[in-house]
């Protein structure tokens, strides 16, 4: 029996789906350590860091949006050929775009390894004490693999459905912990220098990265939606949530105490008591719900990798499925390389640095290349005209 897949109208990503994609990728394991990392250099004023960081992220995201608008309907993989190549010799573009694409993919690939490792550490140390780390990693990877079996529109819809599971627990924790808050902990406000502000922002930079997946996903955005606005809203949502969490962390614990806890956000959850609520000690429930936040971060990045490879080799969904499975095996071993939690955090901050490079350097370099190309072609055109 032959059957057609419905009546195949092309499903593009709506603005809300773009917001969900970006925000849920941004919010991941970074939040669990955010109050500590930001307040380590900024002290009481740690809550400024998410705002400044997100503003910086928006500049980069705006450049990515502009790139995708310049090449509508094309992913980073597809337009890289055009940016670096010439019309006469297509192989030039292929060769010169390869280092950029490879760097991008390798970065995303390793970021998934680190994120899943961090999450595995949290789960193993605080909830499932007797479960081996490997089991958490494998189950998470199997979940990611299942998503990678599907097309892009499914990814967008999954993000859309999981979005409330990411936002609501954070809001709940932040608001519920204000009953224990001592707002004196937040004072004085203008106490830090510009230098330590920059350092503080840098410490938490890992939390604002993740939107680089939009190099790929913006290609499928509905052309009528305002992508800049989608980027703006998603970063705004993330920044406000981060700020709330950091404010809650600092005002409940004070910045000195925050430096001594590994997972400050989880400590916030532990200290939360809701009067009249049936359940106590919510950290297990929080981490269970938090699986969805981590899953969207890991899965979206990994999907971007796998999907890019599929485009790079011009293959279909079967290739994507096979690649998704094959690449998970080394990923599992990579995620087990760090010996302990300190090494994991070191790697995470290294990843933050490389995300800074990728997110700022890539769009800027690409735009410079495009502008130079434009100038050259215009001059050539003038020569032809005489």
């Amino acid at each position: 029996m032959n059957r057609r897949e419905g009546h195949g109208w092309h499903q593009t990503l709506s603005m809300w789906q773009q917001i969900c994609l970006i925000t849920s990728t941004l919010i991941g394991v970074g939040v669990l350590t955010l109050p500590r990392t930001t307040s380590s250099k900024l002290f009481e004023a740690g809550w400024i860091a998410p705002l400044i960081g997100s503003a910086g992220a928006f500049v980069s995201l705006w450049l990515i949006v502009k790139l995708s608008k310049r090449y509508p309907g094309e992913t980073f993989i597809e337009y890289s050929h055009k940016v670096w190549g010439s019309a006469r010799r297509p192989w030039v573009g292929k060769v010169f775009s390869l280092p950029w694409i490879c760097t991008y993919l390798v970065y995303l690939y390793f970021s998934t390894a680190v994120v899943s490792r961090v999450f595995g550490e949290v789960v193993v140390t605080s909830v499932l004490l007797q479960t081996p780390l490997e089991v958490i990693l494998i189950t998470m990877f199997l979940l990611v693999l299942f998503l990678c079996m599907h097309e892009v529109e499914v990814v967008a819809r999954v993000n859309e459905l999981l979005f409330p599971f990411i936002i609501l627990p954070l809001l709940f924790i932040a608001i519920a912990s204000f009953q224990k808050a001592e707002f004196g902990n937040l004072l004085p406000i203008n106490h830090v220098s510009m230098r330590s502000t920059a350092e503080g922002v840098y410490e938490g930079i890992y939390s604002y990265s993740g939107f680089e997946i939009m190099f790929v996903f913006f290609a499928y955005a509905n052309q009528n939606t305002n992508k800049e606005l989608a980027g703006f809203y998603s970063l705004l949502i993330a920044a406000l949530l981060y700020m709330l969490i950091v404010v809650a962390g600092i005002s409940v614990f004070g910045y000195e105490e925050l430096q001594r806890v590994t997972w400050p956000t989880l400590e916030l959850v532990k200290s939360t008591q809701v009067p009249g609520f049936i359940l106590e000690r919510l950290e297990s429930a929080f981490l269970a719900v938090w699986v969805s936040a981590v899953f969207t971060t890991v899965a979206n990045a990994y999907y971007a990798v796998v999907y890019s490879l599929r485009q790079l080799f011009r293959k279909g969904i079967r290739f994507q499925r096979v690649v998704a499975f094959v690449l998970l095996v080394p990923l599992f071993f990579f995620s087990r390389i760090p010996q302990n939690i300190t090494e994991v955090f070191k790697l995470a901050s290294l990843l933050g640095l490389s995300s800074l490079v990728i997110n700022l350097l890539f769009p800027v370099v690409y735009w410079v290349a495009i502008l130079i190309r434009d100038m050259v072609t215009r001059r050539e055109g003038r020569n032809v005209d005489g």
Partner: protein, 512 residues
């Protein structure tokens, strides 16, 4: 691997449908080319030869008023005998009646033996007259049918009490009766090489999206099967993903529900011989929406929807939450309760996963048994099973008292879904969640929920995403998703089915 499996499946299907076609061609080929002669006895022999030795084939010979030999052929039990004696035989034999033809409401002339055989099989009486090459096909269909009764599986407190019955024309009339719109289109199709089951595909021209209608018709046409005994055959063969546990086509016994869905731009499929009609495309909201929601005031309708959603979640997750809490996260339970629970569990020799699986299995057996048992005994067994066995199991220390409460609430919760086939999906999925909860606690439950969410997001029913209007988000559709807004706010039809005529309430017709 799956590729290979698909190819194998496809080949098997192709071979099967080829064989079926071959059979039907062979069996009908010998008939098709033959035409009737002018001799009555020869014609009777021709028809009888087709049926072989068939004792319910009745041949009544008589003489018409013009002294010609005639015979009437029909199958006993499928025809209305009064019509045959009063309006065919009496009309043809009484000299006072000057009218020449039989006085039946549908009359057709043919000399093709194939068509005659088909019509006899579907309850027509065939009149053959000597000297006349054509036979009269009289529609005398009339067999004992169940009357229109209240639907058993979808009862409502407020709303129409009539449900579909087994006869196709009655069912389509029940829909016409509610929807007096000339744009209601009915397409007749026949599926089943041997059963020759009649199928009506109904839609409203000008509302339904034509590609969806065409897709439904094309998929039904592509069904090659020897028998269709219930609409479930059609449903399972034309749904988008045949391996999914979730029903992607809705079934209903209620004509009012079909009409409401036709007005939303969906397509109704009625199958002869079953009181269950199909509605395509279907979305996830079928799990907790009932036609009653639109008949009662919107406050209570909204509240009841939330109650249904909660009860579906309970049916899916309560046992696994119990397992997760008692085995992995006892610190989350308030301390007084945890002491009581521990006291209850102190005599139970199994881990909580085994305890829960054991009890759920018992309740499933009970449920199945009480469905099969004859009417008056069913509830008795339910009470005996639930109360006596449950009580005894607790006293014997096999299960904890909390477990009994949880199993009972879970079972009741799974009955709150207005759609039985949707509730089955939830009922089935409860077991994998329980096993994952037994392995990983709350983490396992969340893993499974994400797996289900991914699967639901990937499902489509005739091109409509299964989770719409929640994802892709459609604010207009949200008016009728969890809450049900008052009727005067339903100004447009839901957009997710790509309706053609979008307006439900015209402003200019409703002066303030």
């Amino acid at each position: 691997m799956s590729q290979f499996f698909q190819a194998w499946q496809k080949r098997k299907e192709a071979l099967q449908s080829k064989a079926l076609e071959q059979y039907s061609v062979e069996s009908m080929e010998s008939v098709s080319d033959v035409t009737l002669t002018t001799n009555v006895e020869e014609n009777i022999q021709l028809i009888e030869a087709q049926f072989g030795k068939c004792d319910d084939l009745v041949v009544r010979r008589f003489q018409t008023k013009s002294k010609a030999q005639a015979a009437i052929v029909f199958i006993d039990g499928m025809v209305d005998r009064n019509v045959i004696s009063d309006f065919i035989i009496r009309y043809m034999t009484t000299p006072d009646i000057t009218y020449h033809d039989p006085a039946t409401n549908e009359l057709d002339l043919t000399d093709k033996l194939r068509q005659i055989v088909r019509n006899i099989l579907s309850g027509c009486a065939v009149l053959i007259i000597d000297g006349c090459r054509n036979a009269y096909l009289n529609n005398t269909r009339g067999w004992d049918r169940r009357s229109v009764e209240e639907p058993q599986t979808e009862s409502v407190v407020r709303g129409p009490r009539d449900g579909f019955c087994e006869t196709l024309c009655v069912n389509s009339a029940l829909i016409r009766f509610r929807l007096k719109d000339p744009n209601l289109r009915v397409r007749h199709m026949v599926v089943g090489e041997r059963t020759q089951t009649d199928i009506y595909v109904m839609y409203i021209d000008g509302i339904a999206y034509p590609p969806i209608v065409e897709e439904v018709i094309a998929r039904i046409e592509s069904v090659h099967v020897d028998s269709v005994l219930e609409s479930g055959y059609i449903e399972q063969m034309i749904q988008d993903r045949r391996w999914s546990p979730f029903p992607q086509i809705q079934n209903t016994e209620r004509p009012d529900k079909v009409v409401a869905n036709l007005l939303e731009g969906k397509v109704g499929i009625l199958v002869d011989g079953t009181p269950f009609g199909l509605i395509a495309p279907a979305v996830f909201s079928q799990f907790y929406q009932s036609p009653e929601d639109y008949y009662e005031r919107f406050y209570i309708a909204t509240l009841i929807r939330f109650i249904r959603i909660i009860s579906i979640s309970i049916a899916l997750m309560l046992p696994s939450l119990y397992i997760a809490f008692s085995a992995f996260h006892p610190e989350m339970i308030p301390s007084r309760l945890v002491i009581a629970m521990a006291a209850g569990r102190s005599t139970v020799p199994f881990p909580s996963l085994v305890e829960a699986l054991f009890m759920e299995l018992a309740i499933e057996i009970l449920r199945e048994a009480s469905v099969r048992l004859p009417g008056p005994i069913g509830p008795t067994i339910g009470i005996v099973g639930a109360l006596v066995v449950g009580e005894a199991a607790v006293t014997a220390g096999l299960v904890s008292p909390v477990m009994v409460i949880i199993v009972a609430v879970t079972t009741i919760g799974s009955f709150a879904s207005p759609s039985y086939s949707a509730a089955i999906a939830i009922r089935m999925l409860r077991f994998p969640v329980m096993i994952l909860a037994g392995m990983f606690g709350l983490y396992g439950i969340m893993l499974f929920l994400i797996v289900i969410l991914i699967h639901l997001s990937s499902l489509k029913s005739f091109g409509v995403p299964y989770m719409s209007p929640l994802s892709p988000l459609n604010l207009n559709g949200m008016k009728d998703l969890f809450i049900r807004v008052p009727h005067h706010l339903f100004k447009t039809r839901p957009m997710m089915f790509h309706v053609q005529d979008k307006i439900r309430i015209r402003e200019e017709d409703n002066p303030k």
